[in-house]
Amino acid sequence: MKGLTLEQLQVRTGIPVPVLRQYESGRMLRPQDHVKLARALSVGVEVLKARSDPPPPPSKSPDTGRRNPLPQSRPALRPAAKPPAPPKSNGVDIAPAAPKVEPPIREAQLRAIDTLAMKLGMLPEELAADLGKPAQQLSAREARAWLREQYERLSSQASSNKMPGQARRAALPEAVDTFELKYLTDAQRAGARLTAKLFNGEMHSGRLIGFSPYTLTLRLDDGHEMTLQKLAIAYYTCAVEAA
């Protein structure tokens, strides 16, 4: 937009100077501004659109976890890295569509690849073979694709190793209730009779028909069901009755 100051362009388009400044620094053009700018610069809308990069794929970058803040529907008007001598059009310089240059791999992507390779137990030469070239020579897009593929592989491996309904649990006995859960599951499957002593000294006995982390449910001898709060229980035993 050489030849015109931002203030002049603001007068011509009605687009505030700060917004124009953002467009210059690479922000996506709002669709309604395409026409205003094209008219003010006396160029076709397609010329401005040609300067815009194609929208990035609408996916989360696996290496940073950041979402692309730019919606797909908005094309980006980015300054070309080294624009060739722009042709003049009615006194206003408009750069032609620059040949697309693949941005190189970012530092964060390099670190993510190293970390992932370590997690996958890949040696440097195996990594280079898998990537097809040294990681430093990848483009950002290639790095993103490789990282996405590996993360998906890791995630499918993790989900196939997990039992259905199994939640993520810590490994320490102090942090899980797995042992009691297993004990009660086995007892219920075996149709065991549970006898519980409560804090107030009462004893209750019946067939274990259900339980939760906080309760036990018994079928009493008279056919009634009784649910006991574990907080009220001091201890209990389960015994399989002889047939």
């Binding site: 006995p173 002593k197 574990k230």
Partner: protein, 136 residues
């Protein structure tokens, strides 16, 4: 029995006290700290709060401090030691029972205790264990 378990027991005996009501009665700005002690067994090392709780429940401060020394972690350390040394564990419960036996397993909520050979194990709820032989 840890201080958290004991406080929960004392609060249950009073029936009417919710956690927010307790916080208000103690002059605490909110119930966050009390929840941390009761539900998450955190030792917040706030002796002033322990004194206020003792006054509120009409219990001696020493009683609460006694429970404070018997944290869940201390019970875990004991269970780990007897399990590793293949010694029988001795657990005194709030019901007055004293159970002795081999620790088969333990976890967040309970302890599986084999009190006699060829008998079903006794599942002791951790919150019911009042005392055990402390190390040292």
């Amino acid at each position: 029995m840890s201080l958290g378990d004991h406080l929960r027991f004392l609060r249950a005996l009073r029936h009417e006290d919710g956690m927010n009501g307790l916080a208000a009665a103690l002059g605490e700005a909110d119930a966050r700290k009390l929840r941390e002690i009761e539900y998450r067994y955190r030792d917040l090392s706030d002796e002033d709060l322990v004194r206020k709780l003792a006054a509120y429940y009409g219990a001696p401060v020493e009683e609460l401090m006694w429970h404070r020394a018997r944290s869940r972690r201390a019970l875990s350390d004991y269970l780990l030691a007897v399990h590793a040394e293949k010694r029988p564990a001795e657990l005194r419960l709030r019901t007055g029972d004293v159970l002795t036996g081999r620790v088969v397993w333990w976890d967040l909520a309970a302890i599986g205790l084999e009190t006699a050979d060829n008998q079903p194990i006794v599942v002791v709820q951790r919150h019911a264990v009042v005392d055990w032989p402390l190390a040292g």
